[in-house]
Every structure is written in C-alpha cells, then in structure tokens.
Amino acid sequence: MTEALITSLTIFVLATFVGYYVITKIPPTLHTPLMSGTNAISGIIILGALVVAGASDDTLSEIIAIVAVVLGAVNVFGGFLVTERMLRMFRRGDEDPKQR
C-alpha cells in the first residue's frame, strides 16, 4: 500500500465517523431534507467530472465526463434548492405562516 492510499483511507474512515455522529443527532422531522441535502452533496462527483471533461486530451473520456458534469450539476442544484424549498415550510407554532 502506498502512502497516498493510507492517507485517503484515513480520510475516508474519519469522515465516516464524523458523519455518523453528526447525522445520528438529526431528528426524524428533518430526515427528508437530510436525504435531499445529501443528494446535493453526492453531486460532489462534479469535481472529478470537471477535471476529466476539461482536460480535452481524449474525445471519448471527454464526452463521458461532460455527461457526468450535467448529472452532477442536476444533483447539486436540484438537491440544495429542493432542500431549501422544504425547509422553508417548517415553522414553529408561534411564527406567523405569512412571514415566510
């Protein structure tokens, strides 16, 4: 195993633990916004897609990566916007629904 791989695995394991502890604290009321929010975050794949698509050294890989850029952008924008739309609906009893 290379040093880079060890580093990457460490990052993966630590992020999983952090995710576990952060997410167990989220109440059931917000589980649907959590899922659409994580949809947006999984759109992170757009970063990998951008690098391959922009490199322009090979037509086939460029085309495939462009498709991935579109799909990643769908997740990023769709995910964050629909989460925002849902969270706007949540209000406390003493808040005026017209105020939102």
């Binding site: 949809n39 970063l47 997740n75």
Partner: protein, 468 residues
C-alpha cells in the same frame, strides 16, 4: 503561480468546503437552524466547484460551463415543480444520477489513464471497479424504486423463480468482472460488461421489493450514491470526493437502519424475503363487532377534548386531507386543547416524509412528535384520531406473537382514553393483517373518505362553537 501553488490553493479550498459540509449537516439537528445549514453546505459546494475550474489540468471551457448550466437548469426545474408527495421519487432519481455520474467519471478516468499509457496502480484500479459497480447498481436500483413509487412500475414485488440465487449469481459476476478489470486494467473494454452487469444487478435487487418497503430501498441507495462518489474519489485522487461521499454514505446507512428497526426487520429480510406478496392474511373466525359513529358524534368529542393526538399515515396525503386536518387541529387549539401529531418513522414513503407533508400544510414542527415522544404522551391523552394509518397502530405488534408484525414498535394509541379511526371501510391494510384496535371498546370507526370526513368534522366543530 506555479502549478503546485494552484494545487495547494485548490486543496486548501477543499478543506474549507469539507468543513462547511460537516457544519451544514450538523445544523440540520434543529429545524430553526436547518436552513442556514443547507446554505452553508451549498456555499461549500460553490467554492469547491469554482476552485476546481481553476485546476491547471482543465484547458478547455467550451463544454464544461454549458454542461454545468444545463444541469443547473434541469435541477432547478425539478426542485421547483416536484410536489411534496413526489419527494421520494425525486430523491430516488437524484440517487440514480449521483450513482451513474460516479460510474461515468471512474470509466472516463480509466480511459484517460490507458490512452496516456500510464500504468494503473492496483489500488486505483480497485477504486475504479468499485466506483463503476456501486454506481451502476445505484442507477438501475434507484430507477426501479422511483418507478415503483410513481406507480409506473408494478408496486408489488416481482418475484422471479430462484430470484435470490439469480441475484447472488449476478453479484458473483460483478465481482468477477471487477477482479478481471483490476488484473488487466489496460483492457479498457472490460468496463462495458462491468457496467452492464452492475445495471442488471441493480434491477434484480430492487424488483422483488414491495411498495411499502421503498423507504428502506431509497435510503440504502442514498448511501450507495455516496459510496460510489467516495470510491471514484480514490480513483481520481480527490480528497473532497472521499469526504463528501463518506458523509453521504454514513447518512444513508443510518437512515436505512432506522427504517429497518421501525419495521422490526433486518436489512436482509427487506432485501431478500419478498415481503408483502404472500398475502399473509390472518383469518379470523366469525365476525368481530366494532362500533361505527358519525361525524356529529366525533365533533362533540373533539370540541370538548382537552388533549388530542392525531396519528397520520400516508393515506392522509393520498386523500390530500392534510389541510383539513390542520384546520381541525387549529380549531381545537383555540378552545384550549393540546393537539399533537404522532408520526411513526415508516408513516410516509421515505424517512421523514409525513413531517414534510404536514409542514407543507402549515402544521408547526413543535406539534410533530416522533414515535417515542408520542408514546410518552398517549397515556395522558383524551382522544386519538387515526387518519390513514393502520399497521403502525395495531396492538397485535405487542400482544400476538404469531402476528407477522409482532415486535414492530408501534404507536400505543390504545393507551389513550378513546380512539377514533377514520377509514374507508373495514378492509385490512397493506400487510393484510387484521387490526385489533378497531374492535376495542374504546375505539369508534368513522367511515368515509378522509378529506370529506375531516371537512364535515371541521364544519360540525365550528357549529358547536357558534352555538355556545
């Protein structure tokens, strides 16, 4: 700046973005801070994308900027137009698109490596194979789930003969092709059978699963879409992909576990048992007697109740009756009653779905109680109104060891003083199990369409208030 300087700046931005993702998710622990959290995470994504665009490897912007724009427009349109009842399908479609995007990036990365004649390291090849396999399974599995949720695919479990053997065999084929790709990674064409096999496996895994188990499947593929991104992150050596993918993977896995626990079933049982088709009707000998009431009787009870819990199920949303129910609750609250909404984790079509549907109908979130919170209150509650829920209030889950739902955590509505069940008829619920609650002395049945019944309840209660 040298190329190395640019790379350092990009990586520094990635660290900030990772912190913003984690902070943003942590803010989801309270509805009051959740919107800020979502925006912080979105800002994190924005800076990460902008930083990546400056990557020196990117030499051409002709296609990537329009591609981002097209994706953004499609995503924004979906986010604006989806009805809240359609959220599970939408999340399933996002799972699918995240999954296949990861598989595509892994594929494109392999093509580039081989074209450049670079020797692909074993660990990189493993990551590529994993990214493709997980991503394709997520794609087709999620599309089947979305189709079932939308009703375009038969919601009943499709049970092929020897389906588990078939799935296992396909799983072995996927692993075999993955190993082959790692062994001879310069043979780029090997990704094609791997892509195909992964897609087939996704279909085989998801078609045997019934409509009522979709929350589990959607949560599971949510997790997979993250893991596919993380695997691809290993392949293209991008730490932010690994961090974000791991966060999503952990989130989906936790939700999967919560859903399984709420049904008292293991993930293996959900995935491979073909639940919901056996028609496990527990035949009852003879007719059991129940009490039927009309809206007027119920309105009198509700108008003078001091405490009430509304137990809502997906049937409420199907009848589009959330607004009527909220009006009824508001009326009771103006008369000094404490009104709460009791929500079982599997009440909707995905985790937390019922809460969103009620929030959309302007029910304040501090009136939404989860399983444990509701059960703490039910002993001191005067009246329970059950709308569109069935199995989750069936006392058999506690009392009858022979019942298929025995051991499932339920809302103990039979602990309240009295209980009104709104239903179309005495027909049994999705699972086909008779509900003991309906035959209890403290229970009264109000038959009819939920929306019409609630509308007449509102009118009757208003009448009572006017005549006082």
């Amino acid at each position: 700046m040298s190329d190395q300087d640019v790379l350092n700046v990009i990586n520094a931005v990635y660290v900030v973005a990772a912190i913003m993702f984690i902070y943003g998710m942590a803010q989801l622990r309270r509805p009051a801070t959740a919107r800020t959290g979502n925006r912080v995470a979105a800002m994190g994504m924005l800076i990460a994308i902008v930083a990546t665009i400056f990557d020196r490897e990117i030499v051409s912007y002709h296609f990537i900027l329009p591609a981002i724009l097209v994706g953004a427009l499609i995503g924004a349109w979906m986010a604006r137009t989806v009805p809240m009842t359609g959220m599970p399908q939408m999340v399933a479609i996002f799972n699918a698109s995240g999954g296949i995007a990861s598989a595509l990036v892994a594929t494109a990365a392999l093509i580039r490596f081989n074209d450049a004649g670079t020797d692909v390291e074993v660990d990189t090849a493993i990551a590529i194979a994993l990214g493709i396999a997980i991503g394709t399974v997520t794609l087709t599995g999620s599309l089947v789930a979305a189709g079932k949720l939308q009703g375009t695919i038969n919601q009943n479990p499709v049970l092929l003969p020897a389906r588990n053997v078939l799935s296992l065999a396909m799983g072995v084929i996927v692993v075999g092709l993955g190993v082959a790709l790692v062994a001879v990674s310069e043979q780029t064409w090997l990704v094609i059978p791997l892509l195909a096999a992964g897609m087939l496996l996704g279909i085989l895994l998801s078609i045997p699963i019934g409509g009522a188990d979709m929350p589990v499947l959607v949560a599971l593929f949510n997790s997979y879409s993250g893991l596919a991104a993380a695997a691809t992150g290993f392949a293209v050596d991008n730490n932010l992909l690994i961090v974000a993918g791991a966060l999503v993977g952990a989130s989906g896995l936790i939700l999967t576990t919560i859903m399984c626990r709420a049904m008292n079933r293991s993930l293996a049982n959900v995935m491979f048992a073909g639940f919901g088709q056996s028609g496990a009707v527990v035949a009852e000998e003879g007719e059991r007697s129940y009490r039927s009431v009309n809206a007027e009787d119920v309105a009198t009870m509700l108008a003078y109740a001091r405490s009430a819990v509304f137990v809502t199920g997906y049937g409420l949303a199907v009848a589009q009756a959330q607004h009527e129910l909220r009006k009824l609750g508001d009326l009771m609250a103006t008369r000094g009653a404490t009104v709460r909404y009791g929500i079982h984790p599997v009440a909707g079509r995905m985790p937390g779905h019922m809460n969103v549907l009620l929030a959309e109908a302007d029910v304040p979130y501090d009136q939404l109680y989860d399983l444990e919170e509701t059960n703490r209150e039910l002993g001191q509650t005067e009246i329970v109104l059950v709308v569109g829920a069935n199995d989750v209030v069936n006392p058999q889950a506690r009392t009858n060891p022979d019942s298929p739902i025995y051991g499932m955590p339920i809302l103990n509505v039979d602990e309240a003083d009295s209980c009104i069940v709104m239903k179309r008829s005495m027909a049994s619920g999705f699972s086909g199990i008779d509900n003991d609650l309906f035959y209890m002395d403290k229970t009264a049945m109000l038959f009819g369409d939920a929306r019409n019944s609630l509308r007449s309840l509102v009118t009757e209660v208003e009448e009572i208030i006017k005549n006082e």
